[in-house]
Assembly symmetry: C2
Homo-oligomer: 357 residues x 2
């Protein structure tokens, strides 16, 4: 099995820790390793580093290579600019197919957290076995609550079992639902969160792109043809300028004839905002999560304090607040508003405060 | 007229800005001047600096002299240790009486803010005229709301007018009341907040101490007798060790036969906590008060942000919070809990975190 790790994201909901020059996947948020390092480390027991590819942007390539010294440098594939996930996955597939025409690849995100790495690897291997048959496979997350921030997968009938895990038909991919719908999905037991984790043969996904995204497929073939020649990076650059951004979900998964899904119940999180990060970290008796700082609190509960090393944080009478201190920026908001941190970042951008972005 | 400015306080409710080595009166909280400087500056149009005495503790004497270079250094009277306000006032009276046996003195606190300095000086002069007759005079603050954190003065009948201001008998000094009582006081129109500002002849207050606090009076006389000799500071030290702490309110004012009160309506504040300070500072359209920092806020109202210079404070969805950042400490609490900041300081003391006190 091969892995393609998508590491080009530039999200703003973990601002002010994540910055334009240092995005979430490059940060040590959940453990002492960065999320990218953790993502690689999670699969190396079943995928040797030579078979792990990281796709990222120009700005982050050297950082990715620094953080992953064990990875062959050429395994860091540099996108000239962001074109959403379908081109990115296609580019990785081109590189992988060149190594091995029969390769099965897992497409992973560099900024997800998974508690049970062993269970995750087991699911990957089970999905890999299924993918040998030339089908598109995804892992569906057992929903823990009626989330409105994720897309869902409506499963159909069970078609097989792989390494003890059930394999279902995908009936439909569903957009992020409003709350009542999300509640109905949760209760039905037939829906999974769309993890964005896919397993397929490199040849299979490229064939699907030929059928569903023929322009992109043609562009990828031009890149593939130049890959071993002296003009590889020039061709990539030229072609990429023309590539139309489209997500793998919209471009392929929602339109493919057949997709299979295996359930994944391993403590998955996309660490989508500060509240989600707080949920992953140990809390004290008052339900407070305190990271990298000294905290003295009175009547303070459910509060997440993410500090810079040498400052004392003193709180009194607080409930469910998020306090993030990065030295140059202090962010304070209620836990249930952390999704809107991106609005603050927009405000800063409008205000020309580039130094804080 | 003379002034005795009491500058020995060590309050903790403006922590973490106020510290053991740098108490509230030594800080530039309300204006660019420190509160002590402001207190001196407020009276110099009617009291020359040679007649202004500052009484403070050993730890703060050099700081007081530094902050008041225009004051004769010997006008900073150093208490060997804190003994509450009656001994402190008595000590100042001894010094003032030595200069002028007929002196009228105003006893002022170094950590009060007054918006209308002109009106304040007018009231001081009016009270000074009344005090010439050998009575105890105080200024009563027109209450702005049913405060439970101040003592009250119940006024009796009007006995005179001085410089256009009515002069009332004091019927009674009242302890800090519970809220319903405070509301009744406010509605009656007969009550003032006890400002702790007193005007009397130095001879009058010492005579009252002879009657009401004879031990203290004797001790003060021993100090007075040694004042011009070589053992002045030794005697002060010896005597002060024996002095019993007692406040001027409990020791004299509540027990004196006759006290007169003049109303004071000049925007007085004791700046008793962070919320009180916020009330004194200009607010923006959202009711936020932002001091010494850059603030970017979304849906943030009624919040007081007191920053350290170079940090950006970003807030989202906050209401009526206090955020104080002193560089080494970050304090966050609701505005209506700022009175309890002292509890945090106690907790730090118990926890041995001396470096933050």
């Amino acid at each position: 099995m091969y892995a393609a790790i998508l590491a080009g994201g530039t999200g703003t909901r973990l601002w002010p820790r994540s910055r334009e020059h240092l995005p979430k996947q490059m940060l040590d948020l959940v453990t002492d390793r960065t999320m990218l390092q953790e993502t690689v480390h999670r699969v190396t027991p079943i995928i040797p580093v030579e078979r792990i590819f990281v796709v990222t942007g120009r700005n982050y390539a050297s950082l990715a290579r620094e953080q992953l010294p064990e990875l062959p440098p050429e395994n860091v594939i540099v996108e000239p600019c962001g074109r959403s996930t379908a081109p990115c996955v296609g580019l990785a597939a081109v590189h992988i197919l060149r190594r091995d025409p029969h390769a099965v690849m897992a497409s992973l995100h560099a900024d997800h957290a998974i508690r049970d790495a062993e269970g995750f690897r087991k699911a990957l291997l089970a999905a890999g076995d299924v993918a040998q048959d030339g089908v598109l496979v995804t892992l569906g997350i057992q929903p823990a609550y009626p989330a409105t921030g994720f897309g869902y997968i409506h499963r159909g009938e069970q078609v097989a079992t792989s390494r003890g895990l059930p394999v279902f038909q995908v009936r439909r991919f569903v957009e992020k639902p409003p709350l009542p719908q999300a509640q109905a999905y949760l209760e039905s037991g037939e829906y999974y969160w769309n993890s964005g984790i896919f397993i397929w043969k490199a040849a299979t996904i490229l064939e699907q792109m030929r059928l569903l995204l023929p322009d992109l497929h043609g562009q990828l073939m031009r890149i593939a043809a130049a890959l071993d020649g002296p003009r590889a990076s020039e061709v990539l650059e030229e072609v990429w300028r023309e590539v139309r951004p489209v997500s793998i979900d919209v471009g392929v998964m929602e339109r493919a004839r057949q997709v299979l899904v295996l359930p994944l119940d391993v403590g998955w999180s996309d660490v989508g905002d500060w509240a989600a990060l707080a949920d992953l970290l140990p809390r004290d008796a008052q339900g407070n999560v305190v990271v990298r700082t000294t905290h003295v609190g009175l009547e303070t509960t459910g509060t997440f304090i993410y500090g810079s090393e040498r400052r004392l944080v003193a709180t009194l009478g607080l409930k469910d607040l998020v306090i993030v201190d990065t030295g140059d920026v202090l962010l304070i908001c209620p836990k249930d508003r952390t999704q809107d941190v991106r609005l603050l970042v927009e405000r800063l951008r409008e205000g020309g405060k580039e130094e804080y972005l």
